[in-house]
């Protein structure tokens, strides 16, 4: 998995960590309690969010020819991938875990990507009213990154990425 931590560990192979590398890890580790608390709050909000989004998703899913509930489930399950990126302090992880798979789905089903991005914006608006301020601060860059990533137009390289399992419910029902 490509993220700053794994890159740092690989780059330091055969030698001790430099002071800068060790400090980067220490600062990250010290931020973990807040990150873990924010992830827990998102986990606790997942069912609530699915309910909130249900009415928003219904007309969109209908327009895209998808069943509402499986799509909502797939969508809310991507929140754990967003939590993972936030926990690891690396927005770019979302390129592979959320943005590329959804772009593949959009390409396959002829869904406008920007409408998928809009769903993340709507989800974030709902969540940001429910989460505590510290969690909002931690999660904001990740929801923004996902929404922007889906709304951007140049996804040629991402479209080549194989679709992960979480999209299958939307495709097979």
């Amino acid at each position: 998995m490509d993220n700053w931590f794994n890159r740092l560990v690989v780059q330091s192979n055969g030698r001790p960590f430099t002071l800068d590398e060790a400090e980067r890890i220490a600062e990250f580790a010290e931020s973990l309690p807040d990150r873990l608390a924010a992830a827990k709050r998102l986990e606790e909000s997942q069912k609530w969010l699915a309910k909130q989004l249900s009415d928003v998703v219904a007309p969109k899913a209908h327009n895209w020819g998808l069943p509402k509930d499986p799509f909502t489930n797939d969508f809310t399950q991507t929140l754990s991938a967003i939590a993972q990126a936030m926990l690891l302090d690396d927005t770019a992880m979302l390129d592979q875990s959320v943005i590329a798979p959804f772009n593949t789905l959009a390409e396959a089903l002829d869904i406008p990507s920007d409408e998928l991005g809009e769903l993340y914006t709507i989800a974030w608006e709902a969540l940001s009213r429910r989460l505590d301020p510290k969690s909002v601060t931690l999660f904001l860059p990740y929801f923004s990154y996902t929404a922007r990533g889906l709304q951007a137009s140049d996804f040629e390289s991402m479209i080549e990425t194989p679709m992960p399992a979480f999209t299958t419910a939307a495709l097979t029902v």
């Binding site: 330091s12 890890i25 827990k40 926990l87």
Partner: protein, 163 residues
């Protein structure tokens, strides 16, 4: 138990309660871990030289079989100390095994080292680390030092011992 590495495995799930507890505990210990790494770096040369001097007494015939054995011994002990420090810093014993310890044991086997030779050598190393660092630092390193002794000496007796 892993800490930061655990986060790599999440993706489709959230951290469990145990994982959260472990990572929170790690967060509170990371500065002490960094201080321990830095302390070990400072005494590394002394520890290894003391250890090799003792092994020379215990195994006077070693050079007959391994012409540059002491130079290589210094390099091997330095490598293992540096990697165990990294693994302790990351709270990731698996990293230590995967990246260096398993590989080093294979090399040692090919040199016809005996289990007793490796147990003696790395027990001396462990004792010298204990003598040279603060108790708090030793406490963090001890599981890795003990594991090194046990893991490296867990090899079959060679047909022709060369120690």
């Amino acid at each position: 138990m892993l800490t930061i590495t655990t986060l790599n495995t999440l993706r489709d799930r959230y951290p469990t309660g145990d994982e959260r507890d472990r990572m929170t505990e790690y967060a509170t210990s990371v500065r002490a871990r960094l201080a321990a790494v830095q302390e070990l770096e400072k005494v590394e040369r002394d520890v290894i030289e003391l250890t090799l001097n003792r092994i020379k007494q215990l195994y006077p015939n070693f050079l007959r079989y391994h012409a540059v054995g002491w130079d290589k011994g210094y390099r091997d002990m330095q490598l293992l100390l540096q990697y165990m420090a990294k693994a302790m810093y990351l709270d990731d014993p698996k990293y230590y095994d995967d990246v260096v310890l398993t590989w080093v044991r294979t090399i040692f086997k090919s040199f016809n080292f005996t289990p007793k030779f490796l147990r003696d050598s790395y027990t001396v190393l462990k004792d010298n680390v204990r003598a040279k660092v603060k108790p708090r630092t030793y406490l963090l390193l001890e599981p890795y030092l003990t594991h090194t002794v046990e893991y490296l000496s867990d090899i079959p007796e060679p047909v022709r011992p060369e120690v």
